[in-house]
């Protein structure tokens, strides 16, 4: 598993940064010092380059006096910034000194040796090159007076710096020319004590220098398959393995400063099983682990949904459309969501490696918790999770906590504070929003969160919860209260939330029946519609329907719940005279209405249910009833314009029970609520003429209600 590693920069290991950086710098320094004519080494030296080119041109034409001012310009421009010069400018400066020295020599001017000395100070290894013999002699004399040779022997043979300049181990192994005087060789290497050693170069001589680094700790090179693995040594994170140029294993990660003794390495990467390793270091040295392969830790989820094409999200990232199989779910806790415009499904669980599960995603009407206000030390996130869990069994409705980032983004984009819904509905709100404003914000927030509505939760003690629900399009919330400590309490809330909507249509005999003491059966007091067609008369007592005997109105109503509309049924009645009478009754499917203010109904949920009911209506009565009841729900929620729009789409004829007169009456009420009195009068007048219409299938007649309203209607 573990082996000694080659101690060199040339090995394929990532060593200390200085090693690689020094190589690059030294390579640049070794470039031949030939300025590129017409190509300035840097923008700042453009003038110097141009001057040099002109000086060189004149020099080459033997116009030495004319060349000198240009070379002076080059030197005056570059020399003051010698230490900061880029390599190209440095080369240019060297060449300028050399050319000026030669020009001066040719014109017998002073300063020749100074120029050569300055040149060698910058680059001691410079040579005379194509100088004339006499000029070369002067140059070599100057060099012999200023420059000596040195051979540096590093142990171990690693890169180092000399007077701050970097040299590779190979360069250091060759004799180097340096200015006579004091110099310092320095090196840093993982596992060694840092080196800084002075030495002296004597002009015209060869100096031998040996520099030995002291080993103080070990290093280990760790290579992983795949890359991107976090390396934790003795509980301390030491880095992440990098991607290698070639596919497969990672670049090795060098971990240093390892003392003698046993060490524990933990290799960790998301979606892979943790790999713990133990190794022992016997002495300070460079070691290498053979490549370590991590085993994947993923689960497979097969997702089947009630709706095809719904988007699947894992931890907020879209991963496909239903139905789908996700076979790379990393082990650990995840939130799987299935979202569509009609609802949402969430699954929070901790997945184990190799786990394979099928999720039946039943999309539910979703309300995103946009506000959580809780007293004490309870964290809002924990509070939200508790509420989400408590209301989980609410079959058709999902109250869930959206991701923090998603929620913050939605709230900030709508510029509403996090507690707007709860605070605004709380007691003593300084300036409550108008219903229209609340509806507008709720609708936009729900859309941003891909939910059907929004919710706020609040608690003074983290147990007694007030849940506020606002469907998209509603201006008036429903408020439920429950106790998180009491399973019965939150169970009731969940049941209320998830209860199916009351039936909107039902089979009816369109005839009023009552219970009469001492008279078993259902006594007819007003026969209309289907009952009338079957020959029922006031005073008749229904004693059986189909094969079921009827002892009371309650039994008749139960029976009606189980029969099919438009199917003839045998009917037995007892007449006022006491005689038996048989008839055939064909119940009809009729619309029914929701109560306007039923504390057991969650109207904000019904708003969404009924919009769906309109889309999926199976027949004209279903559709009419869905529109009618959606209108009623809008009325309950104060959406008067929406209510009128829905009611105007109801297509019911005039007749007994819930019929055109019912719609006219409700329209009259809605028009009155928004001050459209002429329209209210018109609608109520029509309703008052519908003598058989009722407010509900078993509700009061609307005609007297309409007449009474007309009496009190004031412009």
């Amino acid at each position: 598993m573990i082996a000694r590693r080659r101690s060199s920069c040339s090995g394929s290991v990532r060593l200390v940064a200085v090693c690689l950086a020094a190589s690059g710098a030294l390579a640049a320094a070794a470039q031949p010092a030939v300025p590129a004519a017409g190509q300035p080494a840097s923008p700042a030296s453009a003038t110097a380059q141009a001057s040099f080119n002109e000086g060189k041109r004149l020099y080459d034409r033997a116009q030495y006096p004319q060349a000198l001012p240009f070379l002076d310009t080059v030197i005056a421009t570059l020399a003051p910034a010698l230490q900061a010069l880029p390599p190209a400018d440095r080369d240019l400066l060297v060449e300028a000194y050399k050319l000026r020295g030669r020009a001066r020599f040719n014109e017998s001017l002073p300063g020749v040796e100074d120029d050569f000395a300055a040149l060698l100070a910058i680059r001691p290894s410079s040579v005379a090159g194509d100088m004339s013999v006499r000029t070369e002699q002067v140059f070599n004399n100057v060099k012999k007076r200023l420059v000596g040779q040195v051979r540096l022997t590093m142990t171990p043979a690693i890169d180092a710096t000399v007077d701050g300049r970097s040299y590779t181990a190979d360069q250091l192994a060759q004799p180097m020319e340096m200015l006579a005087g004091e110099h310092t060789i320095a090196a840093i290497r993982m596992g060694y004590r840092p080196l800084s050693q002075p030495f002296t170069v004597v002009a015209g001589q060869m100096t031998e220098v040996t520099a030995a680094m002291e080993r103080v700790s070990a290093t280990i090179a760790i290579t992983t398959i795949p890359d991107g693995v976090e390396v934790i040594v003795d509980n301390i994170p030491r880095g992440v393995t990098a991607k290698a140029a070639t596919a497969g294993q990672s670049e090795p990660l060098i971990v240093g400063d390892l003392g003698v003794g046993q060490h524990i390495v933990l290799l960790r990467r998301a979606c892979y099983k943790d790999l713990p390793l133990t190794f022992t270091i016997n002495q300070p040295e460079d070691l290498e682990l053979r490549p370590q392969q991590l085993a994947p830790a993923v689960a497979t989820a097969k997702i089947e949904a009630s709706e095809r094409g719904a988007a699947i999200f894992v931890d907020g990232v879209e991963r496909g459309r239903t139905p789908a199989e996700l076979n790379a779910i990393c082990e650990g806790p995840h939130l799987i969501e299935v979202r569509s415009s009609r609802g949402r499904f969430i699954d929070r669980r901790t997945w184990g490696a190799g786990e394979n599960a099928t999720i039946q995603a039943e999309l539910r009407t979703s309300f995103a918790i946009v506000s959580a206000s809780v007293a004490g030390s309870v964290l809002p996130a924990a509070f939200k999770a508790s509420v989400e869990r408590a209301l989980g069994p609410a079959g058709r409705v999902l109250v869930y906590a959206p991701g923090d980032a998603e929620l913050e983004k939605a709230l900030s984009e709508e510029t509403v504070p996090a507690d707007w819904l709860a605070a605004e509905l709380g007691r003593g709100a300084p300036r409550p929003m108008t219903r229209d404003t609340r509806r507008d914000i709720g609708r936009k927030l729900a859309a941003r969160l891909n939910a059907q509505g929004v919710a706020a939760i609040a608690s003074g003690n983290a147990d007694q919860v007030t849940l506020t629900l606002l469907a998209a399009g509603s201006g008036d919330p429903d408020v439920l209260a429950f106790d998180l400590r009491d399973p019965a309490s939150y169970g009731r809330a969940a049941a209320q939330l998830g209860a199916p909507p009351p039936p909107l249509v039902k089979p009816s005999i369109e005839t009023s029946v009552i219970d009469v003491a001492d008279s078993p059966g259902a006594a007819v007091v007003r026969a209309n519609g289907a009952g009338s067609r079957a020959g029922l008369m006031p005073g008749d007592v229904i004693v059986s329907l189909g094969s079921t005997s009827i002892a009371s109105v309650g039994e008749l109503r139960s029976k009606m719940m189980s029969i099919q509309a438009n199917t003839p049924l045998d009917l037995q009645v007892r007449t006022l005279a006491g005689a038996s009478k048989a008839a055939t009754l064909t119940p009809v499917l009729v619309a029914d209405t929701l109560p306007m203010r039923d504390p057991t109904l969650v109207y904000n949920r019904l708003l969404i249910d009924l919009q769906e009911a309109i889309r999926s209506a199976g027949g004209p009565v279903d559709e009419a009833s869905a529109h009618l009841n959606l209108g009623i729900v809008h009325m309950r929620l104060g959406n008067w314009d929406d209510a009128i729009r829905e009611l105007q789409q109801v297509t019911l004829t005039d007749g007994p029970g819930v019929s055109a007169g019912t719609v006219d009456y409700l329209l009259g009420v809605a028009y009155e609520a928004i001050g459209r009195i002429p329209e209210a009068q018109s609608a109520l007048t029509k309703a008052s003429a519908s003598e058989q219409a009722r407010l509900g299938d078993e509700g009061p007649l609307v005609a007297p209600l309409a007449r009474q309203k007309l009496r009190t209607l004031r412009p």
């Binding site: 219970d515 006022l576 306007m596 509700g699 209600l705 009474q708 009190t712």
Partner: protein, 503 residues
């Protein structure tokens, strides 16, 4: 300010906060304990604990609730309306913004209704109920207040107003507990407005929506009454004689029958009082009962000699004061009815007037100058009596003035020997002739004088007779009768020597 001073203030504030928290906790514990006692029926302990909450922790969050519980107890169980009124006034003044305040208004209204059904009390009650929706429009008590307001208006005979309030409950709060009462009230109004079919439908809604409720049972009885009178009577006899044996196998000389509000039916012969139904407990001992009636609490009262003997409590000896003489006892009381205010209206065979006594039996005044043999009273404190001389049925208003009269002969009815008279829940007047029962609609009776209208609005003037039951041989010689809450008639037939049930 020095650090020590600041620290002292912080400590004091902390201590005050802690004390406040402790006080609230203690108050809540005491309140819950009281409620627990009340649930167990241990009212003595409950009252003590509630009172301690009120006295010791008046600033706690449950002080108003404790006051409300006390008020409820004194009104509903203790029968101490005055004390209850004082408690609700405390809530209204000291805790006017709490959730108990709307309930306090409702109790205040109910106390006024319980005082009497006189106009001043009805108006006072209505005002209390009506304030709830104005002051606390979102309170859970609103539907209950509306239903009570409707009832007050109904008793004032302001029927459209009453119906409007009942309808608000039944359409806007149809699943609230108050809706059952509102449907019931709406049914009563519809019947009074001449729409018995609508009334029956409304009453059935109570049974459909709240089948196990007390109101459902009441609705059944009332719908049955209307069904007999307005459906069955249209094409046949409204009643059928029950084949069941009711009461003793032989019942001679039955002088009176009475039904108590809990459904117990008693009868009185010349020498005893008996019970016909199983739900009345043991009949009282009486040696020479002359008549039977019920008091304001719905308990049986035996009229014997010059005394009204309630089934619980001391008898009330009735005497007429005489100037300079010893008060004259009433020895031959034929009939006595109690008004909604608890006063007694008493008729003695030897008297030429109906006398008014207070609840304690102290003579107040002559109520009406008339000689009637039997009397019945309705919820409006209107009294029906059989005029001994003309055999007419006289209808008196609450002040004792005759406002209507049923003559023995009309265009489509006739009776000869009226023996007894009764009201049903809809204020139909039932007259027992010797061989028939006749039912009249008071609203259609010719009014005797310019008094307040009996119905608002007045229905069309047509025959007042609603139904007649007099099947050949069914009633041979009726001597007394009573109606139960479902309109069943228990009828004593002297000739048949038995008590019969018409249903």
């Amino acid at each position: 300010m020095s650090r020590a001073c600041i620290a002292g203030i912080v400590l004091l504030a902390g201590a005050a906060l802690l004390a406040q928290t402790n006080e609230e906790t203690l108050a809540q514990r005491q309140f819950l304990q009281a409620r627990s006692f009340a649930t167990q029926g241990n009212y003595q302990e409950a009252l003590g604990d509630y009172q301690r909450v009120v006295d010791t922790y008046p600033g706690s969050s449950v002080a108003d609730n404790a006051l409300l519980e006390l008020a409820r107890y004194y009104f509903e169980i203790g029968g101490d309306g005055k004390r209850a009124a004082s408690l609700v006034e405390q809530i209204k003044s000291k805790y006017s913004t709490t959730e108990s305040a709307p309930e306090a208004y409702i109790i205040a209204g109910r106390i006024a209704l319980a005082n009497s059904h006189q106009p001043v009390d009805l108006e006072a009650a209505f005002a209390q109920f009506d304030r709830v929706q104005g002051l606390f429009p979102d309170a859970p008590a609103v539907p209950s207040a509306l239903a009570h307001a409707g009832e007050a208006r109904r008793l004032q005979r302001r029927l459209p107003d009453a119906l409007e309030r009942f309808r608000r409950v039944t359409t806007e709060y149809d699943t609230s507990p108050a809706a059952a009462a509102a449907h019931l009230g709406a049914g009563m109004v519809l019947a009074a407005q001449g729409d018995p079919i609508g009334a029956m439908e409304e009453l059935q809604r109570v049974r459909n929506g709240w089948p196990e409720s007390r109101e459902a049972a009441v609705a059944l009885g009332r719908a049955s009454i209307l069904f007999r009178l307005y459906i069955r009577a249209k094409s046949g006899p409204p009643y059928a004689l029950s084949p069941d044996v009711i009461g003793p196998p032989r019942a001679d000389n039955v002088r009176a029958l009475v039904t108590t509000p809990n459904g117990a039916v008693y009868y009185a012969t010349e020498s005893a009082v008996g019970l016909l139904t199983p739900n009345g407990g043991r009949p009282p001992v009486a040696t020479r009962p002359r008549a039977l009636t019920v008091d304001r609490a719905g308990r049986l009262v035996v009229i014997e000699g010059s005394a009204l003997r309630p089934s619980a409590g001391p008898p009330r000896l009735l005497t007429i004061p005489q100037v300079g003489k010893t008060p004259r006892p009433l020895d031959k009381i034929d009939a006595a009815v109690v008004t909604s205010s608890g006063e007694w209206l008493v008729m003695d065979e030897d008297e030429k007037a109906i006398h008014r006594f207070d609840a304690a039996g102290v003579h107040q005044a002559t109520w009406a100058t008339a000689r009637v043999s039997r009397m019945a009273i309705n919820e409006f404190d209107e009294v029906a009596g059989i005029d001994r001389d003309s055999k007419s049925i006289l209808i008196f208003d609450p002040a004792g003035k005759v406002i209507a009269k049923v003559a023995p002969k009309g265009p489509d009815y006739e009776y000869a020997n009226p023996e007894d008279v009764a009201f049903d829940a809809f204020n139909h007047v039932y007259v027992l002739d010797r061989t028939a029962v006749l039912v009249f609609d008071c609203s259609k009776l010719p009014r005797a004088a310019a008094g307040p209208p009996v119905r608002t609005p007045a229905p069309a003037a047509n025959s007042p007779i609603v139904a007649v039951y007099g099947e050949a041989g069914a009633i041979r010689r009726g001597s007394a009768f009573t109606l139960d809450s479902a309109g069943r008639i228990y009828l004593a037939d002297d000739r048949a020597q038995k008590i019969q049930l018409l249903r």
